[in-house]
Symmetry: C2
Subunit: 140 residues, 2 copies
DNA sequence: GTATAATTGAAAATCATTATCAATAGTAGG
DNA sequence: CCTACTATTGATAATGATTTTCAATTATAC
């Protein structure tokens, strides 16, 4: 139960949420895992601490955590149901194809690209989404 | 039934696929639509030409077209089940939040970013995925 | 034409997610 | 500490998306 777990729970509390054993277990999994997890994987891991936990509660808690931007959804070829702790500010996701390890990197230098695209297309750019994959140093 | 439709059907044929009325209708929808469509939307549109068409055939045909990289899956907040014709080479997707219109733009200038990320993280970068959204000129 | 194998649609099965609901348990206030 | 209030819980059922199965049909090569 890390300091960071407590920080996430405090954020939940600020959303009129109560701090329960189920949420503690789920948050603890998300805080301490550096790869994308599906709801069922989170369910399995969290039940090691809270064996009574139900899958539905996992879905409900993930929804709150995503709303608080503490976690993000990860999109992959195999599917888009995995979640991972979110980065801060303008960070993007880099995933290892082999071990699944996730790394966050800064992407400030994309602004030039977006303003160019905006001018060329006449769009007012609002949002963007960048995800990169490859093979990490350990898996090479 | 455009020239481009024929071109897509020829590509399908090169995959040992037969050219059928169902596939013709589905390909025609994908070739002529510039916004992301869900399988059911494609089903509804294609049935205007081939009323006997089944939804399962839509799923099966989309699978082939994705394999041939003629279409791409579009990922959005609301879900990731929509498809759109693919761009050529290193093109990325720009979507209008209001009308759904899709525009493809070139993203060659991302290479510098990726080599920087590769060096900083020790990853061998293999693939990336960029999607941008905003409001198009017509919707502003 | 005919034979062959791919393709079809319908129905059923699967998988992910969401809604319902009565029982439980945080939390604020005394 | 006790109580009341309301959020949360897990089980079950319902929904929605996608895949599988299968017998009938049909494109295509010969």
């Amino acid at each position: 139960m890390s300091t960071e777990t407590d920080h996430w729970l405090a954020k939940l509390r600020s959303l009129d949420c109560r701090v329960t054993g189920a949420r503690r277990a789920i948050v603890d999994v998300m805080v301490s895992t550096l790869r994308a997890l599906t709801p069922v994987e989170i369910y399995d891991l969290a039940r090691q601490n809270d064996p009574h936990l139900g899958l539905v509660t996992v879905y409900r808690t993930l929804e709150k955590l995503e709303e608080l931007r503490l976690i993000q959804r990860v999109h992959q070829e195999q599917g888009c149901q995995a979640f991972l702790r979110a980065g801060v500010g303008h960070q993007h996701l880099l995933l290892c194809e082999r071990c699944g390890q996730a790394v966050l990197f800064d992407g400030d230098d994309l602004d030039a690209l977006f303003s160019r695209i905006g001018q060329q297309t006449g769009f007012e750019i609002k949002d963007h989404w960048l995800q990169v994959s490859g093979v990490c140093a350990g898996c090479k």
